[in-house]
Symmetry: D2
Subunit: 138 residues, 4 copies
């Protein structure tokens, strides 16, 4: 199955990515680039973007990249470093790429930048491939 079709179906089913307004800009083997606009309902208690939303954008990009070969992969763990605060109206670019992939596990890195090309966060995720097909051929 085409990686593009797998990711399109994942996005169509993914309620929280829809809430975040994630838009797919580019996809190739082992690589995904997304975009999202920061909204008021994403803010935390000190007036900046909630770190959980930043993480979730990276986590979606990670999931799309590690599942695009149509083999269900679940996150074992992830690490994120925050380098810049986000604000309402910011436009984030979320780029994910494969660092390493074996039959059963994979390592992916995601970088998030804002509309000023400033680095907002760096994310690394490790997944385990459960050995099942994500989307069944019909």
């Amino acid at each position: 199955m085409e990686p593009r079709r797998v990711v399109d179906e994942m996005l169509a089913r993914d309620k929280f990515s829809e809430w975040m307004g994630l838009e797919l800009l580019e996809l190739k083997a082992g690589y995904v680039r997304l975009q999202a606009v920061i909204r008021p309902e994403m803010m935390n208690g000190i007036g900046t973007l909630h770190g959980g939303v930043t993480f979730a954008m990276a986590d979606s990009a990670f999931a799309f990249t590690c599942n695009m070969e149509n083999s269900i992969s679940v996150a074992l763990d992830a690490h994120i470093s925050f380098t810049k605060a986000g604000y309402v109206g910011d436009i984030f670019t979320i780029e994910s790429k494969e660092i390493n992939s074996t039959r059963k596990t994979g390592l992916y890195e995601v970088r998030i930048t804002n509309q000023h090309q400033e680095l907002v966060a760096v994310f690394k995720g490790t997944c385990y491939r459960v050995g099942k097909t994500l989307i069944n051929e019909s």
Copy 2:
């Protein structure tokens, strides 16, 4: 200022924690316990709870714990391990506790369990204290 008042004000201002339905169950020095119910709009593309929402619940608990002394603390980085999938209707308990705190930095651990007392995720966050007051005495 009372830690309880600081956290109540943070929660009142925190739009994304409100979206997640986070409820404060217990608060003491260096410790916070929250609860949330998993809803359909929190799901990902493979029918389980989006890992970003799980992370965000832990991140809020972390933020409340490291800011409760009314000194603004920002997350430098965080690490999360996922041990169990979440589903619609699950009730999560989110417990955060201080592991280490210095004048300028802090380390916090958060554990999330579901209604069956199963561990869902373990989170560790490191913060930097910027040296400003979160809520001004009035």
Copy 3:
């Protein structure tokens, strides 16, 4: 095979753990406690214990714990937080325990304390079980 025998054989073969002077104090299901004395050749360029040695002590404890069932497990990734510097003559206690274990992966936490019961480091490691026996029954 007895977990104790597996760990004894691992220790006997482990050249770097020998260099570190790791001593096994206690072992039970999903748990290992080790001890080591900090020496001058373990110091870094600013006169404190090299963080890599601290990590390596935790990593050995992690390896002993996740391999004790005689199923080869390799580290996928690990995270460490440093809370206190180490000095020559310090006596470290290294405690590792299983947080989660599945057929193919595992999550372990290690805490290191010094002779004053002060927390030196907290470590979390994720392993993948390759499906081979570590020590063959003879």
Copy 4:
């Protein structure tokens, strides 16, 4: 003070980096490249390079990079992903670069490759700058 002189002095004082045989190949602003040869006494209990030694090589590169401006920086935490095993005789190249730096904190990434240009490990470290000079002008 010249970054090169700071790192040369750190290396000269660093007993454990000496034990590891770390050699400085290149240094420029926010960047350090080191090399080391894997020896039998660095092995673990399953016949491969001990993950703690891999981590320690990355940690040294991280320390040299975040201290080269002669401002003492201590590691708060670090995350490592292992992608390939190491063996006796391997020659590792350890490259560290600054990702983000503020007056008080910094984020660094280290990549380790072997003599076949295969990725062995990816490391991310966060430091806190304590506000003291590492080497006093004389």
